[in-house]
Symmetry: C2
Subunit: 336 residues, 2 copies
């Protein structure tokens, strides 16, 4: 650390200092064969002494590999993105990308302009591949995802389109188990608070609910729908109480809305789980801190991000992985 060079040293300088050709220097950089012990050593030393770091851009241009993967979150921000759900997904994805030595480009693509930039990013080969999440039915982002020639993996299936590669949680199964859990507890008048109906995840969770009800010989309630936020859950619960005063169980499509339902029930003077039992979905932190604590369907959120990224990495590497459905399970707490 004697002198601080103003410009980053280049591979040519390393080669010169080591007394070898640039090709040779490049070879040791990439751990390629055909370099004698001595030269390899000399190059390593020169690299160390010069504090050389290969220029990613130049390498990217030559190899046609960027070393970057995009994570696209299509939903309206901040509403969707503020959900801790995506924070978790990002943590998982980030870890998996790191294992493959890829960097993470985060693209929030709700606005028109954001979408145009995303499209250019993909067409300009600014990334090696992309993960798509939170896509709604007829979302223009879906077209971008379908038309790109780059490897693409979906985290959660989009509504109305079955992609070749995706990772998803077992939403139908989880919802069914949640509903069955309520039925097992002796509830018979079980309602549901649904998410936005233009998302696949809402539809699947609703389907699971219906299946369980019908299997038990019961009539499913028409779902109240919210937008995955706490207040919308409270509103939906209030409405449910009006339409079905005798309701004794509620399955909410996520924990936020379930928390809202708990609040609404408390406001209406109904005891939980005494009068009405409640089950959520996601198993976010909030499920542990509501009162009563929330029975919910656990899904491995970080894994979802992790596996989505791993799948993308494999796709980029030329493999052809298979879609993946991650298991869900009921976590019983005090609300049932």
């Amino acid at each position: 650390m004697t002198d601080v060079p103003r410009r980053q040293p280049t591979l040519d300088e390393v080669a010169e200092r080591a007394g070898v050709s640039r090709s040779a220097a490049s070879r040791v950089l990439n751990n390629a064969p055909h370099v004698s012990r001595d030269k390899r050593e000399a190059v390593r030393r020169a690299i160390r002494e010069l504090g050389y770091v290969p220029n990613t851009t130049a390498r990217a241009l030559a190899t046609r590999q960027r070393g970057v993967a995009a994570l696209v979150i299509a939903g309206e921000t901040p509403a969707i993105f503020a959900d801790p759900f995506y924070a978790q997904v990002i943590v998982g994805a980030s870890a998996a990308l790191e294992e493959a030595d890829l960097h993470l480009m985060l693209c929030l693509a709700a606005a028109e302009r954001s979408r145009r930039r995303l499209e250019e990013l993909l067409r300009a080969r600014g990334v090696d591949g992309a993960m798509f999440m939170a896509i709604r039915e007829n979302d223009p982002v879906l077209d971008i995802a379908r038309e790109t020639e780059l490897p693409v993996v979906f985290g959660g299936r989009p509504a109305g389109f079955e992609p070749s590669w995706y990772v998803d949680a077992d939403n139908v199964g989880g919802a069914r188990k949640a509903t069955e859990h309520l039925l097992d507890r002796g509830r018979r008048r079980v309602g549901m608070i649904c998410g936005p109906l233009d998302t696949q995840v809402s539809r699947e969770r609703h389907r699971g609910y219906r299946e369980a009800m019908i299997l038990a010989g019961l009539e499913p309630f028409a779902p109240e729908s919210g937008d995955f936020t706490e207040p919308s859950g409270a509103a939906a619960m209030a409405e449910l109480l009006v339409r079905h005063p005798g309701v004794d169980g509620v399955f909410a499509a996520n924990d936020n809305m379930a928390a809202g339902a708990l609040r609404a029930l408390r406001g209406a003077g109904r005891a939980v789980p005494g009068d009405v039992a409640v089950v959520g979905f996601d198993d976010l932190d909030i499920a542990r801190i509501t009162e009563p604590s929330l029975t919910t369907v656990h899904q491995p959120i970080q894994d979802l991000g992790h596996e989505t990224a791993r799948m993308l990495v494999r796709l980029i590497g030329g493999d052809e992985p298979s879609p993946l459905i991650l298991p869900t399970r009921v976590v019983a707490r005090s609300s049932t």
Copy 2:
């Protein structure tokens, strides 16, 4: 859309089709002067017909500008990052970067390996600049931030180091106002639930609390400290009740911990705000949905991200902006 070219067209192909030189084509691409109307038109047409998109990497290599900014979140994931706080910050930063046509590289740099990759990313000039957040005292990430030659802006000042460029919220002022708010409500035995003491934000909020107490001629309580999570707030509140059974007001360093405090108070049979008034900090969504709803200090979180990114953009552009402190204000709700 007649034929789908397998390879992306290059600028040479555009130039050839338009019957001009590559230089000329490049000029129209960059809206540079010295191209005749006709040729400019011809190039535009060729671009359209070929569906040409300039290769970002090649451009980056030639111009030495990546078109990418890094957002580094240093804190332990998922704990820190799962906080909706950072999701908001990202939304703001993303919007500001988009205005400057920069992409966002998200770097979670808690682990050793992540840090090494970050360091290489910066040294290899893989980004044009970086924003640093959630840095703790003696955090190794701080060294990386200080040693890079790239433009760097801090979102929130790190403990023990005053950077040249940062954007921060007025934590001291906000904490003082929060405490004064409690005092105005007639509380005299006001305690504080603090965050981790190795973060600057915790220290500043604590300082604001002390200042307000001392100014009012009252003895500040020794702070209970948590880690910004709800359970830690509940635990701290419980402890506070043991040490100071007569406590009649509490200022928590963030809303999550304040929510925990509310829960602990309810568990202890204390009425809020009747027996104990509570104020939080951040004004996250959670503050609206606790019961009672939470009086808190509002800080413009999205703006924090937005301004941090804007400052970075200016720095990259060669300006020398000044540090920025964003205002905070008390939002009175039902907990006081």
